[in-house]
């Protein structure tokens, strides 16, 4: 047989547009596989000239799955631009909205996007390997998953008036206080949400036990890890400093996120619209790192809520407390975070300040520059704005969660292709595993290509001489 190229496009059950190309050797093995993020929208340019307080409504349109992350990162950047730190109750309410999003995003990912691979199998018929197949396989579980997402979305709706693209955070605080009835409505659903997440966890652990071998050979590799952290090294999703660790788990840096430019930079490759961030001191690609659930649980040494912390201990024991490198454990880490978020909702709602009407700092001490950083469901999100003295944006820099994982996703695609794809008779299930490697990172390709567009992923398998061997369509 000759050399060949296989293309997977679009990669499905992820957010946004991606394409994978696989170059095959003459003997039917994989030479190299590429993940192409294939869209660009240009937010960094077209926000120039807008007012800093419009950014909370414009930037969420980068991503409809985690619009709350952009809404809040933007508000935090604008707090600094205006020199107007929010009162404590406003920060609690913002964090509450953020926890609602964590639950809905993580829950949906596990049950509705990646779940079909785990529950129905990587090699299941593509016609049923989706949420409809899940309904047929386990209707009760699917309804529970839908209700979990609904509970998270309702927190966002109660605070911000709508589920997708809410209007809530403004420079200096938020525009609405929480009412007693609303607090009680959210509280009444917490226990059920926790139970559903625990069901997810037991499914995950069962699956991990039965598929231990796959987990060990499926895209396991070394990188650094990066994310927000509490002062005591606990899991943190909303505030705090950034902790960066090496591949062996040693702390490399701990810094105020506003100075991110001193520590990280982005590399550009010609074959992707998504840039490749790395730790400056180690250069590219030596300084690549991972973010998101796997990264966050690797930089933390505990979780501040009891149920999630119990799970965390078991999880970290898998690799004797050393960083966990297995791509497929993203799913496990994600559920532990969802559990933390649901527990954290309770903690926030029990805080005496949560019903306060002291929610807006109207004092302004205008600085014209601000950096807002938050842990979005998929990882660290950075919004950096500069304005003129009138508050008009003159420069925007955005580094989004999925971007930090770009190198890792590319590595995962290449490694899984080399492990599982064997010619000449390439099976659909082999290709689905490549997509599953991308899915594990739960990429948000719209987010990552905010720069100009979204990210389509396609996979081509090409021979060393560049000739196309085969394009496999999943139809």
């Amino acid at each position: 047989m000759g050399s060949q190229k296989i293309t997977i496009e679009p990669v499905t059950r992820i957010e946004g547009h991606a394409k994978v190309t696989i170059q095959m050797n003459d003997n039917g093995t994989v030479d190299h596989a590429y993940l192409h993020v294939n869209e660009f929208r240009g937010f960094e340019k077209f926000c120039e000239g807008r007012m800093y307080f419009e950014m909370q409504m414009i930037t969420p349109r980068i991503c409809g799955i985690c619009p709350v992350s952009h809404h809040l990162a933007s508000a935090k950047a604008s707090d600094m631009v205006a020199g107007s730190p929010p009162p404590r109750p406003a920060s609690l309410l913002r964090e509450l909205m953020h926890m609602g999003q964590m639950v809905q995003s993580h829950g949906m990912h596990f049950f509705e996007l990646a779940g079909p691979d785990l529950l129905l199998g990587f090699d299941a018929d593509p016609a049923i390997r989706n949420v409809v197949g899940l309904v047929q396989a386990n209707a009760e579980l699917t309804v529970k998953a839908v209700q979990l997402r609904k509970w998270g979305q309702e927190i966002i709706h109660l605070l911000g008036g709508r589920r997708v693209h809410p209007s809530f955070a403004v420079p200096g605080g938020v525009n609405k206080a929480l009412q007693v009835g609303e607090r009680d409505q959210i509280l009444s659903g917490v226990d059920e949400a926790i139970r559903t997440i625990q069901v997810g966890l037991s499914i995950m652990k069962d699956w991990a036990e039965k598929n231990a071998e796959d987990i060990q050979k499926f895209a396991v590799f070394k990188t650094g890890y990066f994310g927000l952290i509490t002062p005591e090294d606990g899991l943190e999703l909303y505030n705090g400093n950034i902790r960066q660790i090496s591949q062996d788990g040693k702390q490399l840096e701990r810094f105020n996120p506003a100075s991110y430019l001193d520590y990280i930079a982005e590399h550009v490759e010609n074959w992707s619209y998504l840039k490749f961030p790395y730790y400056k001191k180690l250069g590219y690609p030596g300084g690549v790192y991972r973010v998101g659930p796997l990264g966050r649980l690797n930089i933390a040494n505990h979780i501040d809520t009891p149920l999630a912390n119990e799970e965390f201990k078991k999880y970290r024991a898998i690799n004797d407390g050393k960083p966990i490198e297995n791509t497929l454990y993203y799913h496990y880490a994600r559920l532990i975070e969802a559990l933390f978020a649901a527990e954290r909702v309770k903690v926030l709602l029990d805080d005496p300040d949560i019903l306060s009407t002291d929610i807006l700092n109207t004092h302004r001490n205008f600085t014209g520059h601000g950096v807002g950083v938050i842990e979005a469901p998929r990882g660290t999100l950075i919004h950096d704005y500069t304005t003129n003295p009138n508050g008009q944006i003159t420069a925007v820099n955005l580094i989004v969660s999925t971007g930090h994982n770009n190198w890792a996703m590319s590595e995962a695609v290449d490694s899984v292709a080399k492990t599982y794809v064997k010619g000449p008779d390439v099976k659909e299930g082999m290709l689905n595993r490549i997509e599953a490697a991308i899915r594990a990172y739960d990429p948000c390709l719209s987010c990552s290509t905010h720069a100009v567009g979204q990210m389509p992923i396609s996979v081509d398998i090409v021979a060393p001489d560049g000739s196309l061997f085969e394009t496999i369509s999943k139809d």
């Binding site: 499905t12 059950r13 240009g42 550009v268």
Partner: protein, 180 residues
């Protein structure tokens, strides 16, 4: 009679319109009773059936050559095409890019941003789609049903899909027609 087939895809949007579709919550199961999901971002078929589908739903405007291809394929394979959300209806927020040249937007993102290192260049691999002016879906292919909103409410999407699945043409007026 077999169930009507529905395909959907996202172009230059943010996935928020599809999220709003999921915000139907339990009513999704009702829609699944009425219609058969074919290619969508949450299923594993990569494109609408060559033999055609009854309803095609597109989120997002057209911002590059790949969006154009997807829109044309969907149009040629579906009987009724729905433009879902502001981006598809008139270009939405991404159309703000049209105030600048594509070159300016690309330079900012891949060369000028302060975090980009000296490897900065505009990606140009032949595998990548080429950005174009951002356009409404109807500027590229004929559209049958326009559903505005950023995103449209789940109630509105439920109404549109269940009407179409039962062979009726949805009419958006009164409380079903709003732009927030």
């Amino acid at each position: 009679m077999s169930k009507p087939k529905v395909s959907s895809d996202w172009l230059a949007g943010c996935a928020g319109c599809h999220m709003s579709l999921l915000d139907m919550d339990e009513r999704i199961l009702q829609v699944l009773e009425l219609a058969e999901l074919r290619s969508t971002p949450i299923t594993d078929f990569k494109e609408p059936d060559a033999s055609g589908v009854d309803v095609g739903v597109l989120e997002g405007g057209i911002s590059n050559t790949y969006n154009e291809e997807v829109a044309h394929k969907m149009r040629s394979r579906c009987k009724t095409l729905v433009a879902l959300g502001d981006c598809a209806v008139f270009g939405g927020i991404p159309a703000m890019r049209n105030f600048f040249t594509i070159e300016e937007a690309l330079r900012r993102a891949y060369i000028e941003t302060p975090s980009t290192d000296e490897s900065g260049k505009i990606p140009s691999d032949p595998e990548l789609a080429v950005p174009t002016k951002v356009r409404a879906l109807s500027e590229v292919v004929p559209v049958d049903i326009f559903v505005p909103g950023c995103p449209p409410d789940a109630d509105v999407i439920f109404y549109v899909l269940s009407e179409l699945a039962q062979g009726r043409k949805p009419e958006l007026k009164d409380e079903l027609l709003h732009w927030h």
